[in-house]
Assembly symmetry: C2
Amino acid sequence: MTGPAAFLPILDWGRRYDRDTLASDLLAAVIVTIMLIPQSLAYASLAGLPPVVGLYASIAPLLLYALFGTSRALAVGPVAVISLMTATAIGDIAAAGTPEYWVLAITLAFLSGAMLLAMGLLRLGFLANFLSHPVIAGFITASALLIAAGQLKVILGVRVDGHNFVDLAVGLARQWDQVHAATAVLGSVTVAFLFWTRRSLKSLLVRSGLPPRLADMAAKAGPVAGIALTAWVTWQFRLHEQGVKIVGTVPQGLPPLTWPRWDLALWQQLAVPALLISLVGFVESVSVGQTLAAKRRQRIEPDRELVALGASNLGAAFTGGFPVTGGFSRSVVNFDAGAQTPAAGVFTAVGILGAALLLTPALYFVPQATLAATIVVAVLSLVDLGVFRRTWAYSKADFAAVAATVLFTLGVGVEAGLLAGVLLSLALFLHRTSRPHIAEVGLVPGTESYRNVLRHAVQVCPRMLSLRVDESLYFANVRALEDRINQELARRPELAHVVLQCSAINDIDASALESLEAIDQRLRDAGVVLHFSEVKGPVMDRLQGTELLKHLRGQVFLTHFQAQQQLAAEADTPLAAR
Amino acid sequence: MTGPAAFLPILDWGRRYDRDTLASDLLAAVIVTIMLIPQSLAYASLAGLPPVVGLYASIAPLLLYALFGTSRALAVGPVAVISLMTATAIGDIAAAGTPEYWVLAITLAFLSGAMLLAMGLLRLGFLANFLSHPVIAGFITASALLIAAGQLKVILGVRVDGHNFVDLAVGLARQWDQVHAATAVLGSVTVAFLFWTRRSLKSLLVRSGLPPRLADMAAKAGPVAGIALTAWVTWQFRLHEQGVKIVGTVPQGLPPLTWPRWDLALWQQLAVPALLISLVGFVESVSVGQTLAAKRRQRIEPDRELVALGASNLGAAFTGGFPVTGGFSRSVVNFDAGAQTPAAGVFTAVGILGAALLLTPALYFVPQATLAATIVVAVLSLVDLGVFRRTWAYSKADFAAVAATVLFTLGVGVEAGLLAGVLLSLALFLHRTSRPHIAEVGLVPGTESYRNVLRHAVQVCPRMLSLRVDESLYFANVRALEDRINQELARRPELAHVVLQCSAINDIDASALESLEAIDQRLRDAGVVLHFSEVKGPVMDRLQGTELLKHLRGQVFLTHFQAQQQLAAEADTPLAAR
């Protein structure tokens, strides 16, 4: 896409919009709206905000994403992990439920939106790549456990504070005798009901003759039904008069026009949380967007997704909302329900607007435990304990990153967990590349190819050492090559030639270049000639004109086979089995 | 080496010690002692300590290094950059010249020694590899400029404080009218004299008939002659009564037995400086040790060098010294003078001990400006401005690391400079590996080899995409591959096969594995088959048993040529020029 459509994808898909697309988008919007109403209320509670803020965060952001987003099926709005991160970020600055707290949430959405926008315009989307998959998987699993543990207190009707698993567990254990029976029964039954609608309702309805599509929609309406039923029960039996906490009065009407707090000291305090929220939100959004786009051979553009998510969060900040992103489960539902264009998001926003205008009085009797139950059931599907087993089997370094992320998230909090995971995975990557695999290679008899002498029966020439380094040479690993060559030099007095096979070297930085010069110098002092073979084009381009090539007594051979043939012929020593 | 000799190299070389070796070692020791006396006094002053502390730091550390070190020619003792780093580290905690300040220097040597020892025993020597050559070169150049600027005030006889170039320059400019004429004249003449002995004396003596070896020794005695001459002039003309600052009373006798301060809060405060001093000292020591060892086809063992340097610094801490390491210039002199074994270091220590016992009264009249002149002339030889030009020509990333190191060192201070350089070079390395070179490749006609379609006239099959990734796949770069494949998928509706040529992929981490699974899934959803070719042995070993290979519809081909032949034959579409 070029021209204005490159900036406003709506100009591209809007032009070809027709009745069929409209029908698909409308159906998807209805289903997503039914899912989103209870979720948005619940995630706002999770973030420590009045439930109606969840509705506010599901209107303007969806409209703005529809304008700028490149994914056709992404469903933007409040999501569980970001809501938890919001609560953690501002929970220490103000008390949940106060107007001050709401302004902080709005400010956080503003900062996150501004950062996403800036990252998009500066093409810094690659920063999100530094959150490795194991770190994200560990983080989401640990966050989900943390969220579930946190909601347990609402379901049991006790007061417990804490941003980490240990505090929550200790608090719950201490308050065990304070459990509010009516709330606990209501909450537990709701959790069981929601699990049942999610797991079994659809197949039950299909078996009882309902068309699969309708059965699916009915199952997805489970949370809405749960809210309606528990609100009715509460009203009917006056449970709120017996201490069951309810949502209470919810203001009716359009989302308010709001402003973030313009306070530089506060912005500095919120900068790291806002950055982490931005990165996690972006990663979650792009992963699901990419998966869905590829299914229809479409693609999304990460840097423009940043702009779109930035606009969405800025929209949230100015309409009383809190940080949002593209949610995994709702986007999949949106896609499966047939959403063809971002117009489905516009229709969803209209549906939520309708709810904000008309439905809020009906929310008065909704028990808070029902919202907590909705959250628990939603987030437990995010828990993926298999990630421990998979990473352990495949790579201990990745396992360590997962373990650190999970332990720090549960033990300290979401920000510490994410930072620990990122820093450890970077440290482990650097450590890995700093210890390159260096193999002495020999000729596989009857071929022109070279293999590790320790793994294969190969031929070598005793006066010539062939080394293959399986890593780009850079400052952190070139000393390993120096050490290896020094070691071989001290061990083999007969050595006359060293040939480095460079087929796996994709880059040589200035440190490595200097080290190669030093190696060449040391070998020369010891009467040994250094050669190179199979140097890649881009690497060779850079080496041209350097001191290394100017002073090199040896040659740069096109293939390692040529090197060995020529050097063995010169030295008049035939190859021998090793 | 195995057995006890692996831990105490002295058992290895000591056993074969003979009269010839003794003669060589003695001669080298005499020359190094002549160099070391003025340098050790001067570097102690540079560190803000009484000059005699430099002698103390040149006795026990040398004996301990001789016991544990693996280099045959390394000359341990006070060096310029470490002395500056010492002054910076403790200068804000106590005033230079006070007993408190000396205890801090001792504590710093103790911490640095303990860290080096621990790094050696835990085999953490690789940590030093993260100081890239450009960062070290920039750091040493900037430190040398900083030292020279700092000594200028002593030569001019003014008082200026500051740990960075800007403070020093501003201070000097403000104090210009306070310059002490006698001191300035004496200092400037000494600087000129020292430059002349270093640059021209040797060739002058050779031309006047002296044997080159003797001429060299005479030239090396320049700083000692400078000290003797200026002390005589000062005494003769009573310059100290006219305000020329002199060294004054220097205690005579054995180094004292001292203890570091056992204060955890202080240790925490000194931890980062001690770590940086340890790393810089280790890097300087290992570089010169490695260079010298290779000239005789010997080698040093970095992890045991850490132990030896750790022991040396602990020795300094308990005998009234300050942080030491293997110095570049003295080690080269030691080697050139013929030092065969660490016994040369023992003899040097004996020489310095003699100086501490007998010579100190003679130091009374040595002007401080003479020591400053000695430092200026020594450090200016460390300045290597060519590093800017060389790194600029070779690699902009390395240039950026040098520039950041130099600017931060001069503008803020040594610690900030070193940290800025290390962090920037790591960030640039991560950035580079996060944007891998991905080339579409095609067959070079008449061969079996594949080259970038953008660089060469090659043949491709329109229904098949061959991609070569020139980087190991890991969390930070695999999204680039996803993006590229998504882009090609959206751009080429006729695509039926994607083959990844993996010859340059040395590792695939868990994130990359998951991304490859996602790529395979997306391609399958789009009706395209994913294949791999030329997967390396170690990579293939790990991929065995993963979901990726279990679910892969395509194949893993031994060579890319086989892949293309078979797929082109199946699809019945011949290759065509691109």
